[in-house]
Amino acid sequence: MSTTQTLTPTMKRQRRANLRRNAFYLILIVVGMVAPFLAYPVFLMKVLCFALFACAFNLLLGYAGLLSFGHAAFLATGGYITGYLLASYPAMTPEMGIIAGTLAAVVLGAAFGALSIRRQGIYFAMVTLALAQLVYFAYVQSPFTGGEDGLHGVPRGELFGIISLRSNLAMYYFVFAVFLIGFAIIQRAVHSPYGQVLKAIRENEPRAVSLGYNVDAYKLVAFILSAGIAGLAGSTKTVVFQLASLTDAHWHMSGEVILMTLLGGVGTLFGPIMGAGIVVSLQHMLGQSPLGNWVSVILGVIFVVCVLSFRSGIVGEINKMYHKNFK
């Protein structure tokens, strides 16, 4: 007896979905491996860092239904801690710096999360925004961040003390590996029983409570995970660009990551990556054109258009089209 006969239709669909997902992962890896030979590696690294940042944000908004307006704080914290450690202790290797930065973001995320999940919906967004502004002011005033000037000349150093990251190609593959690790953690979380409960909470919180789930604990873990990976993105970004600045802590950055996720598709696996790619490319292209001063206006217009008539985002719309025509 072949195995297919014992499979129920749901299992079959599940299996097809898994297959499709694995194919996507494979494409992602292949594209990532070849990309530095086709495009400028520094630009690609920027895209990857922001893509990871957006994926972390998407974990919270897309799967837990929590809109954080303060994710810039985690990106900046990862960046500052890593930058400070690598710049002040020459014995530090980049991966140690990145781990330290990520842990700092995790700690901050635990504090933010514990406070903000006490309020729901719109209040949650306002609380996270206010907390992030608090962090912003703290970074403006504290001496180790260099205030308005930021941290410059952070050494890239040698990975594990052996592999020099000075060449952009070596750096790129390291960043790509970090991205894959972060992405894999998110995928694992989303497709685990834990991720299922998270979605249940998003869909109907009172019901999840009455089923006996400790909703606050689930939300808190999601928040910490998201904050940690956002910190990982920030740490890696600092190593790549050798600087950490207040731009990363500003609320504009929290808005940008929302836009990336929304544009690509909230709650989709690849949406945030695509959204990050588009927004970073757009900023890159506009920055060199006469429209350079209009970047924030253009981002605002995209925001409005997305909310008014493009709410599933690019990947979401493609999925919808696929389901309509091929099912």
Partner: protein
Amino acid sequence: MTMIFGVPLAVFMGQLLLGLINGAFYALLSLGLAVIFGLLKIVNFAHGAMYMLGAFAALLGMRYLGINYWAALLLAPLLVGGFGMLIERFMLRRIGHLDHLYGLLLTFGLALIFEGTLVNFFGVSGARYPTPEVLQGGFQLGFMFLPAYRAWVLAAALVVCLFTWFMIERTRLGAYLRAGTENPALMQAFGVNVPLLVTLTYGFGVALAAFAGVLAAPLYPVSPTMGSSLLIVVFAVVVIGGMGSILGAVLTGLGMGLIEGLTKVYYPEAANTVIFLVMILVLLLRPAGLFGKEA
């Protein structure tokens, strides 16, 4: 000279007054946010931008049309309020049936557009708006000097807050508004034009912000970014007070302004963070907010 905990009385009172003025702006803005939230259930992220547009309307009106301060105080809120009604009618209404987070995102995008556009035309450094002649100078109270314009701002803000409270709690229109907050579908069934009510409410909330903007124009530099940083503080104020009650919003606003002023006297480094710290404290001790109802 009288000292209060090692600070001269005049300095102490001066900072307290500054705090109270800031508090008046917090009160006006959080009041508008609360009114809008009550009926539309969205947080108006463009509120800071509307405040800024109010100030700019006054500034540009004076520069190019010769409109004086007193006319601006009336015209700017009308103009911005009308603009707000258009936004509600043609944008917010289209997403009214969706998750209310979309309203927040839409207004955030609008705020980026307004701010970014004005930055391109006027830069970020800010322009000065002259204090109206009648309100120049001030009163010597003995223990401190009270600038006339600041006294006027405080009085005007309080009067407008009271007027809003009266409108909402004591008039027929206000009764519709409160009923609409509770149950819009039932209101509609009774023959009340709820969509029109929603449009008017948004326009009114936004007009309050613009009014605050005109009041602020002679006090602070008029710049495109003047609204956004203020708005984040106002969000914290709203979290502290809860958006359930009108008087709650006003009291919290004034109170937070005072606390900020006091911090400026005794520990200036924390002056721009103290409200966020109070917010954390409130979240820990009374998560629903001081005047909020437990959801």
